[in-house]
Symmetry: C2
Subunit: 353 residues, 2 copies
């Protein structure tokens, strides 16, 4: 599996003689969402594009950015040159102005944003930077866009990590993996995103990248619960090494293509989420492990922990496919069936290897 | 590869009707070494054995343990019941008294300990808990024991992690992987080591487990250098996900058997070493990344960072086998060729994916 995937890679180099800035100018690009990852994506894009169209959540956010030059709530230390931003609260403005639209809302707000869409969007490319399940559709973003909006996989892409927004804000070197169906689009996206602090890997595994980005949030909740319960680094390492094997099994069941789950978009993204203090999913799990009820842990957080909403749907998919997923089952039981974290993890320890 | 390895597992259950304590009594077991991991191993064994033979480094250490009931330098908070310890400084006493001998010195002290051996040791089992290269032999422990002492692989085994000694000292749940050639020995070792805080996985991949335990120390130095240089969590995740792929390549080249490098002994051990603050190899790298010379960084540490001594030999093996190992090459250049960590890592970033 690993070898095949390696052979199929190697399309990284983009052959063009125009300077990057000029090539980026040929793309009209917009971002929908104003959370931390949306803000990080705008920061990446303004490195290469003279104008980025940005559809934010509310008139308040729009006004605050226009006035202060930064997002009032997320990545507040990232300053924008306002001449480079075309701000709006209307998704139709962004979609009609742009060829490439990055969707970067929390998954629970995507449907309400997309339902505002009245303009034509044929041939436009939608990239999802969302790492969660669309609750109204109970499915991943790629399926939601295809089923509800007839946006085919040739007009879709996925932006995967490992990429904590906070570190992008600080211009710390980060690697994105962008998955899309065709080489021409890959090249365009490479030009749009590559900068002094962003390197881009390319993939054709749209669904695998999206599922793994969702799964890693669920596993990060598990790593947080373990930490909250007092398990140490030795155990966390075992948990994560079991999680990547469970993820491989899950990905093979939902979308079987040659892939090496040890590539950055899969394993790397799991690691950054399971180990980093920036991870909100890990933080949620940590509170639950320490004894907070799930409800109070969610309420105490200022940001959406995607893994909570995803765990339900991921668990059901695993059951449908008849997969052995002890870690997912354990987390689901704790989050949705009020089972004791302590008891569930004690049971889990005998299932790990 | 992953699937084959999974099929070949499943020998975990030990079928015996005697209680664990009674079965453990049938084994006479000894430990050579008095560093932190040796002390942790003695702690594991006294859970199941009424007596553990322990060959420590010096009369001072022997006297201190006999007087205070704990190792004077490492894992000082771990108290032993002295009635369970048979202390000596003579390796011959341990080897002649025991059927199973755990070698747990730092790799640089192994040869001087083994050279004291004058008693017969035919049919005795030597388990290596050492994660480094024997400098006098410029090779791994398994080869050293075979070449110099004619101890065949049927009389050898490897104890692998992820298992920081410090957490064993605190009785935090940890998983060992014990690799040996035969099922009967696997069963014995399971009985000796399994306890309320230790779970045991079994493997037949003696050489792979030994090499990976060594490699992970080298990679942990790399993770430390990155951190010292100011790279963040996003980059570390990419580095580690590249490291496990590089490790897979290396292991396939030196010993090709079916294995899944995402099992705990390989990936888990890499994670605990690359991410944990307990890791001395990571700490060494961190100092070097912050600008200490390699020499002064080594001097400032109270413990041996095995990865430093291993990097040289691992690098040469990779070159002999004609492998593409950019991370190993980078670390070697910094540690042994006085190359600038900053420049070497900048070059490395363009080789990672």
């Amino acid at each position: 599996m690993a070898k095949k995937a390696k052979e199929e890679k190697g399309q990284k180099t983009v052959a063009s003689k125009l300077p990057q800035k000029d090539r980026a100018e040929n793309c009209r690009v917009g971002v929908v969402g104003s959370g931390s990852f949306a803000t990080a994506i705008v920061k990446m894009l303004v490195e290469n594009c003279s104008v980025v169209h940005w559809c934010v959540r509310s008139e308040y956010v729009k006004g605050a950015i226009a006035q202060r030059g930064h997002n009032p709530t997320y990545l507040t230390s990232v300053s924008f040159n306002l001449a480079q931003l075309s701000l709006t609260t209307d998704i139709n403005e962004v979609v009609s102005e742009c060829d490439i639209i990055v969707l970067a809302t929390p998954s629970i707000y995507l449907a309400s944003a997309m339902e505002q869409l009245t303009c034509t969007y044929e041939g436009k490319v939608f990239l999802s930077a969302i790492k969660g399940i669309v609750p109204e559709h109970n499915d991943i973003v790629a399926h939601y866009l295809k089923d509800k909006f007839n946006i085919g996989f040739r007009c879709q892409g996925v932006i995967a990590g490992p990429c904590h927004a906070e570190e992008v804000g600080m211009e710390r070197l980060s690697y994105l993996t962008i998955a899309c169906a065709e080489e021409v689009l890959s090249q365009k996206l490479d030009v749009l995103f590559t900068s002094s602090f962003i390197k881009v890997n390319h993939s054709r595994d749209i669904l695998g990248n999206e599922y793994s980005a969702i799964l890693k949030n669920v596993y990060a909740i598990g790593a947080g619960i373990a930490s909250g319960l007092g398990y140490g680094d030795n155990f966390t390492a075992v948990l994560v090494s079991n999680a990547i094997r469970e993820m491989e099994l899950f990905l093979e069941a939902v979308y079987e293509v040659p892939r090496d789950v040890n590539e950055s978009a899969y394993l790397g993204d799991l690691l950054v989420t399971a180990y980093s203090l920036f991870s909100r999913n890990r933080s949620l799990g940590n509170l639950v492990g320490k004894g907070y009820t799930v409800k109070s842990a969610i309420q105490s957080m200022n940001m959406v922990a995607e893994g909570y909403y995803a765990a339900d749907s991921i668990y059901l998919t695993a059951k449908e496919k008849n997969l052995s997923t002890p870690i997912i089952d354990t987390i689901y039981g704790i989050l949705y069936e009020e089972k004791s974290p302590e008891k569930q993890f004690r049971k889990l320890t005998s299932k790990l290897t």
